[in-house]
């Protein structure tokens, strides 16, 4: 492994550490019983099987959104549409989970396929506009998020809504459409296995297949890719479709894995999480799993602190921003980097 790469890992680790330290500071300032709270934050997530289960189940959607963003970032595209895709794929996929009478196994599969297709098709809007006309994918994807939220809510209000319930939720999913629980005593569902499988597939796709090669070269230097005979527009479209499918699958898997009905009434917020997880992982699909677990651990920790001492879980957002800023700061720890690399050269 090159020293450059090792250094990046050190920088990632330092960023994670700084984030946890900032969490300490926040807890110290806000909490009535800081020492206790910090202990809860750090240790309690590991203290019981059910908390560990929480970490795993929280990590599932984060893995999907991290993968979608990693593929985007690898192609040097900044599309933050994962949010909207999660939502709309969940909503549309819910139709499949509620009405058609597929046998088990096939039922969740059908829902996931529909979710992924929805994600793929929807992503083709910003993807196509970018590939063909160079429209800024970040702005278009964010507009899409708001539009998809509106459309999804419309579907929920007018077609999916269970009138028998006081709150705005859909009809119950059919039992056969739900993803099976795989660890008794927790809520960990088969979606976790799908997420890991997905990460492995994305890894193979990105690093072993010719399409992955095209994507990486395009992301690295689009002019070079085009000069080499890679169809850059096609690559941009493919990247969007792949990322859309991953996010779409993630959306519906979250719904049929963890919930019994479609119950999102706002964007679930996975788009930005995905961006940070992809960065933590250095855009490596396998690294995404680890990064998702780290973020999930912070979440559960914050959640537990919240329960005992009234510190809002949104503390996590502050930590996330710090992680993003530090990991992407090229000159952060720059002096040490220079020394480290020079030392390597001398050897």
């Amino acid at each position: 492994m090159s020293r450059e790469r090792s250094f990046n890992m050190i920088r990632t680790a330092v960023s994670m550490l700084v984030a946890i330290l900032v969490a300490f500071v926040i807890i110290l300032i806000v909490s009535d019983q800081p020492v206790e709270s910090i202990k809860i934050f750090l240790v309690m997530p590991f203290s019981s099987g059910s908390y560990l289960g929480n970490i795993v189940e929280t990590a599932v959607p984060l893995i999907f959104s991290g993968l979608a963003m990693a593929v985007m970032f690898k192609a040097n595209l900044f599309n933050l549409g994962g949010e909207g895709i999660f939502f709309i794929a969940g909503a549309v996929g819910s139709f499949v989970a509620i009405w058609p009478k597929f046998p088990s196994v096939l039922a969740p599969l059908a829902a996931i396929v529909v979710g992924a297709l929805v994600g793929m098709v929807v992503m083709m809007v910003p993807g196509g506009l970018k590939a063909k006309y160079g429209a800024n994918e970040m702005v278009t994807s964010l507009m899409m998020n708001n539009i998809l939220l509106g459309v999804g809510l419309y579907l929920l209000n007018n077609l999916l809504r269970d009138p028998g319930m006081a709150s705005l939720v859909s009809y119950k999913y059919r039992k056969k459409a739900l993803l099976a629980n795989i660890v008794p005593g927790t809520r960990i569902h088969a979606g976790f296995l799908i997420a890991v499988l997905c990460a492995v597939l994305v890894y193979l796709f990105m690093y072993k297949s010719k399409w992955g090669y095209e994507i990486r070269m395009t992301g690295n230097n689009a002019k070079f890719a085009s000069y080499s005979g890679i169809n850059v527009a096609k690559v941009i479209l493919i990247v969007h479709m792949v990322a859309g499918a991953i996010a779409g699958a993630g959306g519906i898997i979250e719904c049929i894995g963890l919930h019994k009905r479609f119950e999102w009434t706002a964007l679930p917020g996975y788009g930005f999480d995905g961006a940070m997880i992809a960065m933590l992982a250095g855009n490596n699909p396998l690294g995404v799993i680890g990064a998702a677990f780290f973020v999930s651990y912070l979440r559960i920790g914050a959640d537990l602190v919240n329960r005992s001492s009234d510190i809002p879980t949104e503390m996590i957002a502050i930590l996330q921003s710090i992680i993003i800023l530090l990991i992407s700061a090229e000159r952060f720890l720059h002096k040490y980097r220079q020394r480290w690399i020079e030392k390597g050269e001398k050897k």
Binding site: S2, R216, M217, A225, G229, N231, E345
Partner: protein, 516 residues
Amino acid sequence: MENYLLEMKDIAKIYGNGIVANEAVNFNLKKGEVHALVGENGAGKSTLMKILFGMEAPSSGTVTLKGEPVRFSSSKDAIAHGIGMVHQHFMLVESFTAAQNIILGMEPKKGFSVNEEEAVRFTEEISKKYNLEVDARAVTRTLPVGIKQKIEILKALARGAEILILDEPTAVLTPQETDQLFEELTNLKQQGHTIVFISHKIPEIKKISDRITVMRAGKTVGCRNTEDVTEKEISSMIMGCEMDTTIIRTPCKRGDVGIAVDKVSYIDKNGVQALKDFSFSVRQGMVFGIAGVQGNGQVELIDLMTKKRGLKNGDIRLNGESVKKMSIQDIRKMQFGYVPEDRIEQGIAGHESIEENMISNRYSTKEFCNKILLNYKKIAEFAKKNIESYEIRCSGGKHLVGMLSGGNMQKVVVARECSHEPKVLIAEQPTRGVDVGAAHIIHKKIMELRDEGCAVLLVSADLSEVLKLSDVVAVMYEGEIVAFFEETEGLNEEKLGLFMLGLERHDEEQIRRAVQ
């Protein structure tokens, strides 16, 4: 000891990546002289001048200005000390007027606003004073290169520059503009300015300079009075005799037509006719050299051949197939190689490994790919073979290309473009900014391809390169072929120069022979 205006002593510069750009360099200036700084590409001229202009800090050595030791931390510092620089790539804001560019950073004010009238008046005043004529109100984008250069010179003079550094100022100029520039420089000299003139064109140096400092491989070779040395002597000082870089050219075995360019015309975005009725052909087994000052349509010609721009008028055939309806991908599927001029911008992906960079033009061929997955074992073998055969200095195939030196980077590009037995090769300034050793390897490889029957088109502003490699030479001037030589025997740079500068022109019949 003489009283120098400026003295740079024992300057060394070692970059972070370990490249030694300057070593034991000594350079001095007398007031009111034109001092030529000459040397090959990569000899360290630019680095030395960047140090003088405060853009780089020297690793060791001293700079003395008017007897005082100085150390510039920024170009702002250097400017304050009366040093001005005209960069090879102009530092102008294209959407600004000439006056706005000249007063940038020292704007005359009226209340909170910039006083535009005063800016124009000031520009006209100094323009008159130094006899450098520019239209103060003209938008820079619309001006020809020669005028832009004048704006750059005025920019420096307006900031009180007594020492003026000109980095390869004639590379982009037409002969008339060059003559005019020399007049203007002589004029400035008489007004007491000191001029550093960076170049590698010996006749020009002979004409304009009072003294010459020669650099080679990061070191100063010597400093002479211009009148005391002959062009030959300067040349041997520049080249040195450390390495045998001769290329033996076997007799040319002409095959079928590999490249045919047929009556191609092209008008660019700004309405300038970049190519006029351009025709020539290259047969397999030969090197067709195109010489010319930069900006005479070479870029447009190559862009049309490689489909970076759409071809509308005329036709281009590679291996007998018209590129008119082809995409870049289609061209890449033919046995085709292209070494681009700007390697960093389009020749490589810097953050990827040598292996990955080595296969970008054929990653999807059966050799490396089974329709879906890439065969990384074969790729590694392939890269290893090329690293050895091109003597690429690196730690192995996983080495990131962006961490290589310029010469080794270029070898990666050439290796990729030449190692799949292309039937057509377009080489655009293949050794620009590359050290002598790397250049020699690249030249050898190009000649090997020619001997194997590839049709090679060499487009270069480096005449020694053109003369060394080409079997036939055409000269390009203002979008046209103005000369065609069926052999390079007896041809020299001076003679080509006359045509490149538009001073001479072959008759139509001779030019038509470029279509063979």
